[in-house]
Subunit: 355 residues, 2 copies
């Protein structure tokens, strides 16, 4: 059976209702749902509702505190240290990014770190919070060990993503969001779930040998982006989001799926920059619009129809899926529907069948 399409609002309601039944406050459930549905609308399905099940599982086991509230525990003029107090990563992330945004509006730039947090979903979501208010947003997070330091084969660093959002004079913001591995680990997880092999160059098995077995790749390590440079970038992210925040770092970050005995202690780093502190905002809009127009004007290489800017395809997809709905594969539907059934929540009708 092919994917079924669901209205974004229907899925949003299911996620919110299930989260509330699990003890999450209504306003926090709304933030969580907004982040997951943003990912689905954007086509970043590796960070969408397929992650919801493990969040609920960890809440049930006491590893995520559904009523936990993030709190500023240390502050200077333009920076804040946030303790997530074990709350959902999305709740801590949105809170901390808004702190950084406030500071950027007042001081030109601001940053906030987060400790004692969880998987926060797609990093670009927090950048979008900033671009929605004409600010540049930077979002970094560490994650469970998945990648070896260059020169070793034993997983230590996460696939630690780097994300930056930039408001523009065009109809869409630029949203850069990339894992520092050759491919996001979510793709390996998805392949393992479907029982499919992975391409060469994605992962090593636990003994350090290249593998096309998704399960072996998850047990071993994924390869860093471009070799030693990806290692350096993943380390950069862990220095800011793990070491600087006071969270776990390196192997100190717990596995979301494999370790159901302790909180993950994930760390994040957020920064926001106000372009209006650097030049009149209208001038910044013109410059970003010119940049995008120049990139669009470059001749496409063979095999390409157009030259895109990061965030552009996701923007178009969001517009399209707001109308046509979000396609979910059968395994994702089944898992989400089970959560809804357990919580006594009605399951929505699909919009239409997709081939």
């Amino acid at each position: 059976m092919g994917p079924e399409n669901f209205a974004a609002d229907s899925l949003r309601e299911v996620v919110e209702a299930v989260a509330r039944r699990a003890g999450v406050r209504a306003e926090d459930a709304a933030v969580l749902a907004d982040c997951l549905i943003y990912a689905e609308l954007s086509g970043i399905s590796t960070h969408g509702v397929s992650r919801f099940g493990i969040y609920i599982e960890r809440i049930k086991r006491g590893l995520i505190d559904p009523t936990g509230q993030p709190q500023v525990v240390r502050e200077a003029t333009a920076v804040a240290v946030v303790d997530a107090n074990g709350c959902l990563g999305q709740v801590a992330g949105a809170f901390a990014m808004r702190k950084a945004m406030e500071s950027a509006r007042r001081h030109g730039i601001g940053a906030a770190t987060v400790k004692h947090s969880q998987h926060f979903g797609t990093a670009g979501y927090y950048c979008k919070l900033a671009t929605d208010e004409d600010l540049i947003g930077i979002s970094l997070t560490n994650s469970e060990p998945a990648m070896a330091p260059w020169g070793s084969y034993q997983a230590y660093l996460g696939t630690n993503p780097i994300a930056l959002g930039c408001p523009t004079g065009s109809e869409f913001p630029i949203i850069i969001d990339l894992a520092t591995s050759n491919v996001a680990r979510g793709n390996v997880i998805a392949a393992a779930r479907r029982g499919e092999p992975i391409p060469e160059g994605w992962a090593l098995d636990p003994a350090g040998k290249p593998t096309t077995d998704a399960e072996a790749g998850l047990a071993g390590s994924v390869l860093p982006l471009g070799g030693v440079k990806g290692y350096a970038l993943a380390l950069l992210v862990d220095l800011l989001s793990g070491v600087l925040s006071g969270a776990g770092f390196g192997a100190g970050v717990g596995s979301m799926y494999k370790d159901l005995t302790r909180p993950a202690d994930v760390g994040h780093f957020f920064a926001a920059i106000d372009p209006a502190a650097f030049m009149p905002i209208e001038q910044f809009r013109e410059r970003t619009e010119a940049l995008i127009a120049e990139i669009h004007g470059k001749p496409p290489a063979p095999g390409f129809d157009a030259v895109n800017v990061p965030g552009e395809i996701e923007f178009k997809r969001r517009s399209m899926r707001a109308v046509e709905g979000i396609p979910l594969t059968a395994d994702v539907v089944s898992a989400l529907r089970n959560l809804a059934d357990e919580a006594g929540i009605d399951w929505p009708q699909p919009l239409k069948e997709d081939s």
Copy 2:
């Protein structure tokens, strides 16, 4: 003839004296020399004294103002916009990083952009200025078009490096410094200068075909780090250092070697973060030391003797070369010696011959 080794101080004196004769103020000549000799000591020879000749050439042609002074033209609490006024990139870069560092000490974080600047040498140098004072430093710069947006083959973005320095509890700072291309363009320039071919995967010719001809690669484009991700990272750098600063961006950045008719209008972005605003500095030192020890403790993969942290090899090399001298190849010696001769500066004796 193999490389000859020269004492760092001898080379520093030559660079300073030649720069002063070209009209550079004594204190600015010292900054320039410090940056170039730092690169040579660290083994980053692509960004060392081999670049000095084109700086002097551009000064002679009026494209770099040897007496130009960087100036803050716009400011908010924690950010500054610096106009380099056409001065040397190193002078503008050190000035702006020190602005960001001042702000970090007072407010936890600070940033400074630079417009109307030049090639500023190795990005890591400015991060080292920060780590020398127990601050985290971030240094970004755009550069002349060398890399195509993903989906095109026409050069538009530079190989825009990302650098971050982090003070540690170990004897060396972590210095991450990487071009967002598969390889730094300096390596292609060096191969072209030596008349040698380049490996596959480094560059495309002007028609978009893969090439091993270094000159064709310089005329065409170099490939981004890991494909579309390197494109996104290069764009991230240009957004902050070019678009946000008010400098040239994309194809608006002039070629240092090929365009001797106009100033390059390079843009930079610097940020500094004070770890002491986030936790007691002693705790930060302990955490970074633990991180490094854990990475060192990972088992080496076949073909590796040890697992290193970025900046570690360069630190060891600086210690070694401070004693044994800096090895310069015959072509670099010849070019630098010509500059010294023209300026009437004595050329130093090599320390010893290296095989």
